[in-house]
Amino acid sequence: MLQFIIRRTVGAVVTLFLIGAVTFFLFVAAPSDYASLACGKDCSPQRLEDIRQALGLNLPITQQFWDFMSGIFVGRDFPTGHCTAPCLGQSFYSGEMVWSTIMDRFPTTLTLTAGGAVVFLVVGVGAGMIAAYRRGSVVDKVATSASMVLSSFQIYLLGPIVLWIFVYSTGWMENPGYVPITQDPWGWFVGMLLPTLVMATIFTAQYTRMARSSMIEQLAEEHVRTARAKGMSRKYVFFRYAWRGALIPIVTVLGIDLSSMLGGAVVTELTFSLQGIGRLAVDGAIHKDLPMTMGVMLFGAFFILIFNILTDIAYAWIDPRVRLS
């Protein structure tokens, strides 16, 4: 187990390094001069030179890359001040430190992810399991068709509809926004309620469908039939044996979903004008802000790799036959 974690962690660090390298060199070594990207449409040669100087773009590319990578571990010094480790550089656009900006925005994204996950795991997986248990019943039919229709909706479509119903036309709720939970727990809850629920609705529908089909598949397995043949009740077999196996595909998708959400719930954040990691990525891309983009990419990739490892550990925990080797 420990060996597995160590080996996978080393692999993850190497992958992160490679992702950083690819992102960096694609950005910097792109035939278009990076400074002119940052400078925009109306750019004088003098200003271009200034930008180059300020961004350290006159240094050799390998030197720039080394500065960036080593900064993550030991910190860096900028003309505007020191950046403590983990230093992801300084934004070209706003001049702020990338790491502190990310940490600033992260609670919003974390709230969305955690709140959404609670809803779609409890409601979605629960509904799917019940539908599978009562296959063919009215409950099953309602759950199946509702999830089918809802999963065809998109956040950018459901979001405006919900906003219009609850905020614009009736005024029942304030425009959503993030308030730190430490400051005002109630404000935090109310402010994030609509975005979280809208995002969770779409995911709930997908998880219902998945949990149902995976459970039905499990119920057709031989070990389930054997248990039933031994005289165990349907309920007992369902809750003791079948659900364990049904969890495997759910955990796989959950790992992917959570990691991508933590790296920025882009659509939800844009739809509800929240300032999260995803918004940061979009702004970084639009302003051609290399350090910010690098930072967000590495941050997102970090979650993907962590959740890959966690998913594999979860497999071993769910199914004792799985060996971590």
Binding site: S32, S152, I161, G263, G284, A285
Partner: protein, 348 residues
Amino acid sequence: MSSPAKAEGSGPSVALEPELEPVPEPAKGETTLEGRSPGQLMWQRFKRDRTGVVCAATVILYFVIALAAPLLTKLSGTDPYTLYGQDPTYQDSPVLDDFGLPLGYFGGLSGSHWFGVEPQYGRDVFAMLVYGMRTSLFMAVGITVLMMVTGIVLGLIGGYFGGRTDYWIGRVTDFFLAFPQQLFFIAFMPVVTAFFVDPREETPTYLRAVAMLIVLWLLGWMGMARLVRSTVLSLREREFVEAAKVSGASPWRIVRKEILPNVVTPILVQFTYTLPSTILTIAFLSFAGVGFVEPTPDWGRLFANGAKYTEQDPAFLFFPGLALVIFVLAFNLLGDSVRDAFDPKSGR
């Protein structure tokens, strides 16, 4: 996933499903056994699935609408670029009020503007929608085909040749899978665009399309490669491949004649699932503001604008949204039907 066994034994499976087609009563003493290809079997099963047929018809209808967009807008007499609210030519028939909001009911529905008009500019929603569908659908088909072909080729190579080749293709696949997909799409659109055009100049629309194609392609082939590889791995050890090898067939011939026909099923099923998700990704890029920009009509851009107008004019989103929900729903159901048709064992 369907097993290759089905693909081979077409004879016996006919006998297993007598209700498939009324087999003519065998004449006295002789039995007629008719061979059917897996494709024919699949088609027969699919035809009986009413949901599947309706959904297939819906999807085809969308493609026809997209193809016939210029024709349809000629019928409605509108086009997606004219600002009916600001153009002095249309002063006699105003579509917007003093606040820039559509006149009339439900976003300004009228005989000349079937789906209403856009607030502020007064552009025709119907024309923007059909042209936007055209952009999205055809780009998505191109990108999906490209992703599929890449995945199939890499999966075939890795699965068939195995060993070191397979190992390295696997590592590259893992590496690409570790990229945060959405963030990558957003971050690399400007970079890829910068490869083609000086950032100080306006980017032509076709270059945006090319940039989108490259970005989506780069991160879209891995699922297919893994699927094909695992299927090929199990096929490689089977007797008919060995027989072909023994009889001196070249690797190319074995891949083409023995393996590829047996991988078609999972590829087709995967295709019906990938195409709608590609369409949604293109829409996502435009929604995030890094895909198509004004004034190119695009489905995703309609939603970005719709989100802006919701407070004043919620009706704007109605038709584009309804069209999208029906389309995705039909495509998802179609995917399930195609899967069921190929693999009768998979119960839903």
